[in-house]
């Protein structure tokens, strides 16, 4: 063994001591996480431009082609890049956007004439470095592309009331008969039957006009190269990481806003919440139950958050053609057995108990509906007795759940315990979202399933027609996944669809709503409460009743200032030293 001299012996103590020392410092300086915002705005009195706004979603954007995109997160980007002819104001009323005014409607309710706002320009695109003006021909071309069978847009059903749309979709006609360009800024639409939801459809992102040159240039790749008329221009997309946008300086509605926007995709909600609390993210919109609890109780965050019920309904779909749910009493028993308050407790109190399909924000919702589903164990047992199962059902029931994350597992477990009380054993079957959609759309396949519906536009028909009309039953891909057939309901819904008197229409939907609750093709569980939080220096943002996370009116009150640590809690010091403004700006 080589001899060790004293100095060397000391030398090798150094790393050990350093390590121990580091550990000691770590323990001694264990910081509390920040309890409030770390940054505040500069206090500008009026909106101003500049800065970078960073937001996120936990999934991956699939496409930026408005004709194809049909999910929340693509919508977040599309709302920055494109405009529609119509839009919604803060009270869910339709307002003109690219259209100069609201369209004129003919007496019979079949003809709509839109006048475009002149001078609106598309973003620069290949071959047209300064863009070009939007004209009526663009609107026509966009709708033709949207409705062509080759594109296969999921938005097609919303526009099928346009005269000739079906024939064109099937490839039997060259053009859509009901779309006619009158002059440079005027376009007419003719419907084959009155449709009260046509204008809602025209306000959907599917109908946003796009320039044809761009589509012809890129072919199928156009979804990575969006060009619209919106307040932001697309810059770059680092796949799986982020999308970058910059402000459209030639936007038709001159308005200050951040110079750049960054949309971080694929960012898990727990990480997002932590990044947000550290000041690296400017707004968050989905939280785990514990993060939700934190923000709701955090005093200093209160001015910068908004909590609101989403216009969606969740429930357990019960297949009315399969035993034991072909028996209405079993379905009602399930509806009465669900302890909705208990579910909410397990989800940090963010579920509003639901007893009917129409959520509170929609006309037709009845807060005092006698048929509404509530938690009532006695009634549930009574229904089981009426169904002929006083002792419960011996065969376990398979409930399909899409995805297998912690949230879906927890809901499954909650249902398991509740139904065990009335003698129904639940077996959970976890499948991918795709498998869930395919299989539950086929008759006699899926006995029960966790399901939910988000509105496409604020109208009761968007819930009732799609989910419970017997027309939505097909051999494949039924939207009526409960396979609920009721001629009485069908008649009411058909009448309501073409009814022009608003009050009578709402009344019809109220009746339909009651029928659905009574027959319980779904056991309604909850309306989700959403929470959105933004940084103090983010101004001009309120959650929109129709659009999810619509950031087009945001402006930033910069430069932001780091709040005193005393206020924030013993936060991190290291980044503060290097980046007094928090790095990003």
């Amino acid at each position: 063994m080589p001899s060790i001299r004293r100095s060397e012996a000391l030398g090798c103590w150094v790393p050990v001591l350093t390590g121990l020392g580091l550990l000691g410092i770590l323990i001694a300086t264990w910081p509390d996480p920040p309890q409030g915002p770390r940054f505040e705005g500069a206090g500008a009195p009026t909106p101003r431009s500049g800065g970078t706004f960073v937001f996120h979603h936990e999934e991956n954007v699939r496409t930026l082609d408005p004709h194809i995109a049909y999910d929340e997160l693509s919508g977040m980007a599309i709302r920055l890049l494109f405009d529609g002819l119509l839009d919604y104001d803060d009270e869910s009323n339709l307002i003109p956007s690219l259209a100069a005014d609201m369209p004129t409607v003919s007496e019979d309710g079949l003809r709509f004439r839109f006048r475009l706002r002149p001078g609106v320009r598309f973003h620069p695109m290949p071959g047209l470095p300064s863009g070009r003006e939007l004209v009526a021909e663009d609107v026509s071309w966009s709708l033709h592309r949207l409705l062509s069978g080759a594109v296969g847009s999921p938005g097609y059903p919303f526009f099928s009331s346009i005269l000739g749309a079906d024939e064109y979709h099937r490839g039997e006609a060259d053009r859509i008969e009901g779309i006619r360009v009158v002059d440079r800024y005027t376009i007419d639409f003719t419907l084959k039957e009155p449709d009260q939801t046509f204008l809602n459809a025209m306000a959907m992102t599917f109908a946003y006009p796009v320039p044809r040159e761009n589509y012809e240039h890129w072919g199928e790749e156009v979804k990575f190269h969006p060009v619209g008329t919106g307040p932001y221009v697309f810059d770059e997309w680092e796949r799986d990481v982020e999308l970058r946008f910059s402000r459209n300086r030639r936007y038709w509605r001159d308005r200050p806003g951040p110079d750049r926007m960054i949309f971080q995709e694929n960012l898990a909600r727990e990480l997002a919440a932590q990044r947000f609390r550290n000041g690296d993210l400017d707004a968050i919109h989905r939280q785990s139950p514990s993060d939700y609890r934190f923000f709701r109780n955090a005093e200093r965050w209160q001015p910068y958050l908004s909590e609101f019920p989403r216009v969606s309904t969740f429930g357990i779909g019960l297949n009315c053609e399969m035993a034991p749910f072909d028996n209405v009493h079993v379905r009602r028993a399930v509806a009465f057995a669900i302890d909705r308050q208990g579910w909410s407790r397990a989800r940090s109190g963010r579920l509003l108990p639901a007893g009917q399909i129409l959520p509170p924000a929609l006309p037709g919702h009845d807060p005092n509906l006698p048929e509404a589903h509530t938690f009532d164990l006695d009634r549930a047992r009574e229904e089981m007795r009426l169904a002929g199962f006083p002792e419960g059902i011996r065969e376990p029931v398979t409930v399909w759940i899409s995805g297998q994350d912690q949230t879906s597992t927890q809901y499954g477990e909650l249902l398991q315990q509740d139904l065990a009380r009335i003698g129904i054993q639940v077996r959970m079957r976890f499948v991918s979202f795709a498998a869930y959609l395919t299989e539950s759309g086929k008759p006699h396949t899926v006995p029960a399933f966790f399901t939910g519906w988000n509105m496409d536009f604020p109208d009761p028909s968007n819930f009732l027609d799609i989910l419970f009309h017997s027309r939505s039953i097909h051999p494949e891909n039924s939207e009526n996944r409960a396979f609920y057939r009721n001629p009485e309901l069908d008649a009411i819904l058909d009448e309501a669809r073409s009814e022009t008197d608003r009050h009578r229409r709402i009344d019809l939907y109220r009746r339909a709503n009651a029928i659905v609750s009574r027959d319980a093709p779904w056991a309604f569980t909850y309306y989700p409460l959403s929470m959105e939080v933004w940084q103090p220096y983010v101004k001009g943002y309120r959650p929109h009743p129709v659009w999810s996370q619509d950031y087009r009116n945001v402006w930033l009150d910069l430069p932001r200032r780091r709040l005193a640590e005393r206020l924030v809690g013993a936060g991190s010091t290291a980044p503060a030293v290097f980046f007094p403004l928090g790095g990003r700006r």
Binding site: S288, S290, G342, R345, S348, E413, V431, A435
Partner: protein, 283 residues
């Protein structure tokens, strides 16, 4: 284990510590259901979730000493039952892996030639398959991915190292004079294998088997961590850890299963090392 090996083992403090950890964990796994104070799957939504929607922290509610998870289930009972699942899967999968691995190793080492070639290519193949991906894929096909399926998968994943080691050991043993003599005397292959070859490879198998249990626990937890593995509402440590990591506000939900996993794996590793030193003293 002969006398000398046992003596060496007893002197090894680390190995003893490992043995204590292992027997402690194994005992709680076996006795878990008896020790568990509550039904592990019962959701006490009213008592174990407070009015501010927080699950009970450890020592907060009497009788539920390790607190509750966010659905209101007693954490201690879940840990005990979950440990039983984790340990059962690990032990059974290891036994199965040992069976396959020994068979492969002994036959390929003893007979050589095509048998050897076949087994070894199979080993190569299995090592190149991305198992985690295959597990996810199969999970989506099999109607009821049961524990049995999990055990099978883990065993298939892990017999390869054992087969390689056993094979080389058998190749050595085969060259020994008394085995050659037995062959020359016309003794049957089966008898030679059982009488002379197997006893010689038993040591490495026990050592490898012990560390394999540790790896199995890790694999099982990893699968559960990705949402595969045991069926809810049952839990295993891996699935509990996965739940916990998404709720950092309640750190105990992550720390308890994490500690148990690390402790168990540590115990088995120490024990395996001690056994190796005992069987095969280098110094």
């Amino acid at each position: 284990m002969d006398q000398r090996a046992w003596r060496r083992f007893r002197k090894n403090k680390g190995a003893l510590f490992g043995a204590v950890l292992v027997s402690f964990v194994t005992l709680t796994a076996v006795l878990g259901p008896l020790l568990a104070p509550h039904d592990p799957n019962e959701q006490l939504r009213e008592t174990l979730i407070n009015d501010d929607y927080e699950p009970a922290a450890p020592f907060e509610v009497p009788g539920h000493w390790l607190g509750a998870d966010s659905t209101g289930r007693d954490e201690l009972s879940r840990l005990l039952h979950g440990g039983r699942v984790s340990m059962m899967v690990a032990y059974l999968a290891t036994l199965l892996a040992i069976a396959i691995g020994t068979l492969a190793g002994v036959t390929s080492g003893y007979f050589g030639g095509w048998i050897d070639f076949g087994w070894m290519r199979l080993v190569d193949l299995l090592l190149s398959l991305p198992f985690l991906l295959i597990a996810i894929a199969i999970q989506r096909v099999v109607e009821d991915p049961s524990l049995f399926f999990l055990i099978l998968l883990l065993a298939l994943l892990s017999w390869t190292t054992l087969a390689r080691v056993t094979r080389s050991k058998v190749m050595q043993v085969r060259q020994l004079e008394y085995v050659q003599a037995a062959l020359a005397l016309g003794m049957g292959h089966l008898r030679i294998l059982l009488r002379h070859v197997l006893p010689n490879v038993l040591g490495p198998i026990i050592v490898l088997g012990t560390t394999l249990v540790a790896r199995m626990i890790i694999f099982e937890s990893a699968l559960s961590f990705l949402g595969l593995g045991v069926d809810p509402p049952d839990a295993s440590w891996g699935s509990m850890l996965n739940e916990g990591r998404q709720q950092l506000a309640y750190p105990w939900l992550m720390l308890f299963p994490a500690t148990l996993i690390v402790m168990t794996v540590f115990g088995f590793n120490l024990l395996g090392e001690g056994l190796r030193d005992a069987f095969d003293p280098k110094e």
